[in-house]
């Protein structure tokens, strides 16, 4: 398959209460092997997936939040987070995990994968995709 398409994974649901966040991440990890142009969008309750300090010991469910930090190793480096969604939920970028990747085109400099964007920018990102998968 030589064709490269722009894939967007849209995450609008919180983690743990339902499985969508985890199973979305499983698609992203498998999808990385296909060498498409991948972006992740976090908006509405989806922004809760990225909070730092998640500790699931008390609910007996596996904590998968560390996996987001491994995405850079899979060349998944574009995680767009909607600012308005953060604001409404009383969150700032400081409440999110630091997620980084090493830029092979810039002497492997460590760069942030999370990019906080406005709602208008998020709409533009959505409108520029070939395939949109919603979770």
């Amino acid at each position: 398959m030589s064709e490269t398409k722009k894939f967007l994974y849209v995450n609008r649901k919180a983690p743990y209460g339902t499985i969508y966040a985890l199973e979305s991440l499983e698609v992203v990890l498998i999808g990385a092997a296909f060498e498409q142009d991948v972006s992740l969008a976090f908006l509405d309750d989806g922004v809760f997936q990225l909070t730092r300090g998640q500790d699931t010991a008390g609910i007996g469910i596996k904590n998968f939040s560390n996996t987001f930090r491994a995405l850079g190793d899979y060349d998944v480096t574009k995680l767009f987070v909607e600012r308005e969604s953060l604001d409404e939920r009383g969150l700032t970028e400081a409440d999110l995990q630091a997620i980084t990747y090493e830029d092979e085109n810039d002497d492997w400099a460590e760069k942030p994968s999370i990019r906080v964007v406005s709602r208008a920018e998020m709409a533009d990102i959505m409108a520029s995709q070939d395939v949109v998968l919603s979770f």
Binding site: Y16, G17, T18, I19, I59, G60, I61, K62
Partner: protein, 130 residues
């Protein structure tokens, strides 16, 4: 006190079956009785014995089976909800001409009357769903 519990959503997809499990364990630890847990709607999917979750995840169905065995809880799966969704015990499978059954040990299939009866016979009823 006697506390009845209803689980209305399927395993892994919703947290309901997990929260209910921890709630029931705590109720028993606090000296209360949980005579029955009723599985309705997609909750019937908790009763499958064919589930194979990843090794590093909790095994929801096995946890319920073990708790029921250990504490003598009646795990009732609604028959009407189960039939729609493809959960059958051996008798039902035979009766419906199906070549397999999939209900786990510790669960039994019965009617909705068991839910009403639980509401009548317990002091409190707590529902976990979506």
């Amino acid at each position: 006190m006697k506390i009845g519990v209803v689980v209305s959503e399927g395993p892994y997809t919703h947290q309901a079956a997990d929260t209910a499990y921890h709630f029931v364990k705590a109720a028993l630890d606090n000296g209360h009785e949980v005579p029955r847990v009723f599985f309705y709607h997609d909750g019937v999917n908790v009763s499958t014995r064919l589930s194979v979750p990843p090794q590093d995840e909790r095994h929801i169905q096995n946890n319920w089976t073990a708790l029921a065995k250990d504490k003598g809880i009646d795990l009732v799966v609604c028959i009407a909800a189960a039939q729609r969704r493809g959960l059958l015990d051996e008798n039902e499978a035979k009766r419906q001409g199906k070549d397999a059954s999939n209900i786990a040990e510790g669960f039994r299939i019965s009617g909705l009357g068991q839910l009403i009866e639980m509401g009548i016979q317990t002091d409190r009823l707590v529902m976990f769903g979506d």
